[in-house]
Symmetry: C2
């Protein structure tokens, strides 16, 4: 591509509302332009990158035996009512009325439509397993769209849905998708981790998230330094402590802590460590309030807690009014000792081995010291309800846990029979009997991958694309072509030769000064830059610089070809 013919639109200013690096760089490089909140136009440069990601995803889905189709973005309410999600999905579902006042939504995902398709098309177990996918625009009406295409409302997604007669078949396709995702992110040149994820309210047997590693990532990933174990923080299990609870040795004593509410404030005030305190939060259980108690240096894992018996799936914090009415105290002064009998008390395993601990006094401005389980504080159940922390032993017994930050770009999920059951999607089995199918679903945030890659790979000068995602692999920069027909000719010849060799190349023939030209090529992240100049021409060399290297060096044309492979 001759850049004089390409609408390259880099800008110098860092846009005011762009908070994270990828959003800033995508705007500065001219990859995207904002149309409205959470709605972006992919400018020509951005679209080149998006299409590269899309085509790697498509190739690997095809290789894994998935079959591509294309569903409408606009889907009828009736199907979403069959699954129960018309009401349950919440305000992220963009609901639409057509000219005849019939209701539709802009698809945020397509389980309903594909299950409807499957129940019409699949009649026999002989047609199974089958894995349908599409790469299609989706819409989620985020309450606070932000970070550019990272959390946009309209976005490009690859969504796949497989259908099976047996759990073994589902597990097989799930594994094939796991391998395909691994190939996709490997081919794209990204550092990533697949982590075990919670299967949430749907249930299902297995779920993994694919996370691109980046310090700025919203998600915390847990992995072992001694094994393959990896999970997201919601899912990661905290092993039971190996110690047992000492006998009580102190008296339960109410002490004044007039303004100390947080564990840190209380521990400092009472001259104990947070490890000697118990932190208590009140949440709404399935039948009334539940106290969740963890050690002071730990955090409650609400996803793990939400899945316990008697919990409603997602545990929601009680309001200050509810807490005050139930305990007589405000948040910050709540503790397990002396709680009313109707409040269940679920204690984390690490908190359960404490003796003589500090906890809230259930009276504003006070805490207890010398508190002990059973003697002073009722224990309904001991469970794993905390978030793991770095240094915890790995749940598989091998190594200790580390924490990294990641950006979720893919998700594979064994759905089981949830949708097929709701929509009565059955096939006849070998005995001619109708069987509800099992399903898997497999998503990739195609547009989000672009932003995630930038979060992982950038410096002060701009983006550092992995080669498979770069808009062009090589930029040929021409210095003062107007002053020298020889230079223009040499650059044209090099450009033609590279194209001939199948190398994706941009010829920067825009006539900019060298500084501005180089800055643009660094900003837009081209992996290889060569400069055709009068001096180089005289010496028979090109000035070459790799995007990730600090210095340029002189190389011959043959060396360049060898380097590009």
């Amino acid at each position: 591509m001759r850049l004089s013919q390409f609408h390259l639109a880099t800008v110098k200013e860092v846009p005011a509302d762009a908070e994270i690096a990828s959003h800033q760089l995508m705007l500065r490089a001219g990859m995207i332009r904002k149309l409205a909140a959470g709605l972006y136009t992919w400018a020509p440069l951005g679209l080149r990158v998006l299409r590269k990601v899309e085509s790697v995803v498509r190739e690997e889905m095809d290789r894994a035996g998935a079959v591509e189709l294309l569903m409408p973005t606009i889907q009828p309410k009736e199907l979403w009512e069959e699954s129960g999600r018309w009401a349950k999905f919440g305000p992220q579902l963009l609901k639409i009325k057509d000219r005849k006042e019939q209701e539709f939504c802009y698809a945020p995902t397509a389980e309903e439509v594909i299950t409807d398709y499957a129940r019409n098309e699949l009649k026999s177990y002989k047609q199974l397993p089958v894995n349908f996918y599409q790469i299609q625009t989706k819409f989620r009406d985020e309450i606070r769209p932000r970070f550019g295409v990272m959390r946009a409302r309209e976005f490009l997604m690859k969504d796949a849905y497989s259908f099976h007669l047996t759990q073994e078949s589902l597990a097989g396709t799930y594994d094939a998708m796991y391998q395909a995702y691994t190939r996709i992110f490997t081919r794209l040149g990204l550092k990533f981790r697949a982590v075990e994820a919670d299967t949430g309210a749907i249930g299902g047997n297995a779920s993994h998230e694919f996370q691109v590693l980046a310090d700025s990532g919203e998600d915390a990933l847990i992995f072992s330094d001694g094994s393959d174990y990896a999970a997201n923080i919601e899912k990661a299990e905290a092993l039971a402590p190996t110690t047992t609870r000492p006998a009580p040795s102190a008296e339960l004593t109410r002490v004044d802590t007039p303004t100390q509410k947080t564990i840190e404030e209380v521990a400092a005030f009472l001259k104990v460590t947070p490890q000697q305190c118990v932190k208590t939060i009140l949440v709404r259980g399935a039948e009334g309030l539940v106290a969740l108690c963890v050690r002071g240096d730990h955090e409650v894992n609400e996803v793990k807690a939400g899945k316990l018996a008697g919990m409603p799936g997602e545990s929601e914090l009680a309001s200050e009014e509810e807490i005050l009415a139930a305990t007589g105290a405000r948040p910050g002064f709540i503790g397990p000792a002396g709680l009313p009998a109707e409040i269940l008390v679920i204690v984390d395993r690490d908190a359960a081995v404490l003796a003589d601990f500090v906890c809230g006094g259930n009276l504003d401005g006070t805490h207890y010291t010398g508190a002990n389980w059973d003697r002073d504080a009722r224990v309904t159940r001991v469970e794993d309800i905390r978030k793991v922390v770095a240094g915890d032993p790995s749940p598989d017994g091998k190594g200790t846990l580390q924490i990294a930050r990641g950006i979720e770009v893919g998700h594979v999920f064994q759905l089981g029979n949830k949708y097929a059951e709701a929509l009565k999607a059955t096939v006849l089995d070998e005995n001619g009997k109708a069987q509800v199918m099992l399903m898997g679903c497999y998503g990739i945030g195609v547009s989000r991958i672009v932003a995630a890659a930038i979060e992982q790979r950038h410096d002060d000068a701009g983006i550092i694309w992995p080669e498979p995602m770069a808009p062009w692999r090589v930029a040929v920069c021409v210095i003062n072509p107007k002053n020298s027909p020889d230079i223009a000719q040499a650059a044209d010849a090099l450009y033609a030769e590279l194209k001939q060799r199948g190398v994706e190349v941009a010829l920067d023939d825009r006539g900019l000064r060298p500084g501005a030209m180089f800055a643009d090529m660094e900003l837009i992240g081209i992996p290889h830059r060569v400069v055709v100049s009068e001096r180089g021409l005289a010496a028979g060399t090109l000035e070459y610089r790799a995007r990730h290297e600090a210095e340029a060096r002189a190389i011959t044309q043959d060396e360049l070809f060898a380097l590009l492979g």
Copy 2:
């Protein structure tokens, strides 16, 4: 592709609600499935064809120097208000409210968004001309979606928009797009015509429609048998007659025509030809009713009439009440003789040379004979307001006009400054002065092309794809592979060899009986079919049949390779 691994879903029944061949065949071949009115899922087979069309369109747009980007499907109301189309577009515009009650639409086209993009990105005449395009899902809320993807609500469209400082530049890009469209439809293997089209309410300087020829087409196309002249019926000019009006020779006489309302009924009853009658319709002009008079064998061209001075752009028929109030008679008995003075009378040039003609009597149950212009009937203006008919002389003076039927699949349009003016999209010219840009727009109905091709090319057995659109070029059918490992092996080897040679091939290894297999391959329109059978294997030949040929013949493998090129 091994068809055992592909979700091929042919069906035998002709679906009840499919009225036209392409709709029936796309359903029977399993190319599409209906989700709701005007909403279709592209099944795997259909998507293969759709992607082929899309990629030819993309290649030719790129070759013509257009730059691809991708705009959101959801567009904010504010921009549509700037252009005035939020109100004017009508109920085809699908309006949407998000969770914050802000208004958007699902884009039916993107003039507003691209003009907004251009006014932000284009600052200088040096950036012009530029031609942006996208291939993106669109939505039009048709009142009566029908004919499958031919007139769907959600569809795939290529839309391009060019920006210019001068009319010469616009004309240049317009011509480049015309040439690109010609290449696209030629490459796709379709018979088509580019016809002059009316520029409608927008004005603008030039417009052509690209029509795929098919007897079932909704549009009438006019072309000369003696020149390149071609236009759609709305645009085509009727030359002025070469004869002059004879002097009156008959008396104006009111005759009873109690039940005769149509020209045919009146002419038969009065024993004259329709050519001796004048047909009159009343429409709403810019300031009151207008009578449009054409010869009895002609039809009023409402588009041409609507563009005359004093007409509102689109002429709308007066209601029966309006006609009765204005003339004292009902439709069927209206004529130009004795019309009230406030009604303008616009007479077609062919009607204006009649003398002693028959026309409505402006009194129910009566007509006039012996009517004459000026003496009996007032003439406000003589204009070209009729539709041309086959046999008319070509407006360029070369040959006579013929009529063909077509399906509109592309449209190129010189928009002029309509949108750029409304949205204040300016660039600085060479003198540093802000100039409103000129625009062209260029659309292709990507999904509609698939249906149009089938309308043009099918027989009783199914679709007859042109090779560039076929899901696969060759089908290798295997007879009884389970009975003979040799046959299965030979078929696999042929399949591998064809793939190796870069031929897109489907191996029908589904194990169907020959009849069912051949019927499927004909239905889905594969251009070349070869059969690997025991008999052929013994003879060292393959049974070959081209989709458009009636008979199969034996050929060698080398002959097959030669034939496929």
